[in-house]
């Protein structure tokens, strides 16, 4: 059945493992849990980094200026898309910011939180009104991907907003058409609707007649000012200068957003790492106990092999191979199970820890999975090497007569 010697040895190792399926299963489950947690942890880490990189790249701004005290809300809106609305005086702040050395462009945005729809599950959305004449975040994307600006009744939606191109979307009594959809970023932008600032003003005006609740946006006010810096400009220095010249504002750098996400990620990992380490310890103990028991059971068998001329290495190779196989299979099951369970509860985990997430590229995921499987297999081989080495030190006659 096993013509190839390597396959033959593998088949033998597999049969040996199946001799006591209950014992093997216990160790397999232990390895599986460790590998699954490690894979999910790695996936979360890489996925969060990927989402932050993609999200900040799409945002395209080096600095964001918001009213003092609104930085926390902006972070939640940027990362999770939780609707928020705050306003500050716009024109003077814009003029001041544009006059600062190192500022390449500054563009205002108006945030509006939609009313909850009475229909099931439409939920709250965040509308962002941009100024097409100065915008450097949405407009370049539209020109590149859509080849045109948005029509007055069109909106650009984040990837998670329901509907297809042309579908009607009603906000504060005004109906818009879905003009285009952005690629996923894993950040709050996926839950955001972009529309020209002019459309927001009109919607606010009409909301007094058409909406259940009127939209009040103070005239001349904005929610945030997005700032792009000149090449080589010092973001921290420009942020400090904006804070000094424009009173009552908070300046957030792209680095602040990434740092804040990293802190939230550290919080999640601080819960995950002790669990993984505890399970790893249990799995190691199980592995050691299992392979010491197997080594004890096979002492005579190995003694006979040695007496018939097999080298010490040859006689215990099967034992180490069994451990490698068990570790590898456990790792494979862990990667599959961990990936599947994480996939199911991904949204709940990310919402609980206010983390953005975007699956890393397939190649990166495959590499991570392969690393976990190889580490599990290598760990198994290393643990089994200990009882195997003890066996090789026994003289053949000692092994044969051992009780």
């Amino acid at each position: 059945m096993w013509g190839n010697p390597v396959l033959g040895l593998l088949g033998l190792a597999l049969r040996n493992l199946l001799r006591n399926p209950g014992r093997t299963l216990a160790v397999l489950v232990g390895v599986m849990v460790v590998a699954g947690t490690a894979f999910a942890g790695g996936l979360i880490g890489r996925g969060v980094d990927h989402a932050v990189a993609r999200g900040l790249d799409r945002l395209g701004a080096d600095l964001m200026v918001v009213p003092a005290g609104a930085a926390g809300e902006l972070h939640t809106a940027l990362v999770m898309g939780l609707p928020t609305a705050f306003y500050m005086e716009g024109e003077r702040a814009l003029a001041e910011i544009r006059s600062i050395e190192g500022v390449k462009a500054a563009s205002p945005q108006i945030f509006v939180a939609t009313l909850a729809s009475s229909a099931c599950c439409t939920g709250h959305l965040m509308l962002v009104g941009y100024d097409p004449s100065t915008d450097f975040t949405v407009t370049p994307w539209l020109r590149r991907e859509l080849g045109r600006e948005l029509a007055p009744d069109e909106v650009l939606v984040g990837n998670h907003i329901l509907g297809v191109t042309g579908d009607p979307l009603t906000f504060y009594g005004t109906t818009f058409r879905l003009g285009a959809r952005l690629d996923p970023t894993g950040m709050g932008m996926d839950e955001t609707v972009f529309l020209p600032q002019e459309a927001v003003w009109k919607m606010a005006e009409r909301s007094h007649e058409l909406a259940e609740q009127p939209l009040e946006v103070p005239q001349g006010h904005v929610s945030a000012i997005l700032v792009a810096l000149d090449e080589g400009a010092d973001a921290a220095a420009v942020a400090a200068e904006i804070g000094r010249r424009v009173g009552g504002v908070a300046v957030i750098t792209a680095g602040d957003v990434a740092l804040s996400v990293a802190e939230d990620l550290a919080l999640l990992m601080s819960g995950l790492v002790p669990v993984t380490l505890s399970v790893l310890l249990i799995a190691l103990l199980l592995f050691v106990v299992l392979f010491f028991a197997i080594a004890r059971e096979r002492r005579r068998e190995i003694g006979l092999l040695r007496a018939m001329g097999a080298t010490a290495g040859q006689s215990v190779r099967a034992l180490v191979l069994e451990a490698t196989l068990l570790g590898g299979l456990g790792g494979l099951a862990g990667v599959t199970g961990g990936g599947a369970v994480y996939g199911l509860f991904k949204e709940a985990i990310m919402v609980s820890y206010t983390l953005p997430f975007l699956y890393p590229p397939a190649g990166e995921q495959a590499l991570l999975a392969a690393a976990v499987v190889v580490l599990a297999a290598a760990g198994g081989a290393l643990v089994a090497a200990w009882p195997a080495l003890r066996l090789t030190r026994l003289e053949p006659h000692e092994a044969i007569h051992a009780r």
Partner: protein, 113 residues
């Protein structure tokens, strides 16, 4: 709950999805009891449990689907939980079928307890 224009409230469809799931879960628990009390029926019961597990998966996906908004509580907790519980139930049912077939083939007698 959804508030209607007249001010009343009515349950969202995920409420009914959860109720249907609870019904199937109760059936699985009853099947477990039946398999314990009537060991001879074990294989058939295991097969029925496999079907019930599939039903547990199909309820939130297709039979009484939850809404399309990924951020709603039903999609964050109930749906993944139902899929996981359904998957485990299907596997447990299949293991039961295969294991009992092996035992039957070996002529092992089954007794209550």
């Amino acid at each position: 709950m959804v508030e209607t224009a007249s001010g009343g409230v009515m349950p969202m469809r995920c409420y009914w999805s959860e109720r249907a799931f609870q019904g199937v879960a109760a059936l699985v628990a009853f099947a477990g009891l039946a398999a314990f009390l009537f060991p001879d029926s074990g294989r058939g019961v295991s097969l029925a449990v496999t079907g019930a597990g599939l039903l547990m998966i199909l309820i939130p996906l297709w039979l009484v689907p939850t809404c399309a908004m990924a951020g709603m509580p039903c999609n964050l907790s109930f749906k993944p939980g139902a899929l996981l519980a359904g998957g485990i139930t299907v596997m447990a049912g299949l293991v039961g079928v295969l294991q009992l077939r092996r035992l039957d083939a070996a002529g092992v007698e089954r007794r209550v307890g």
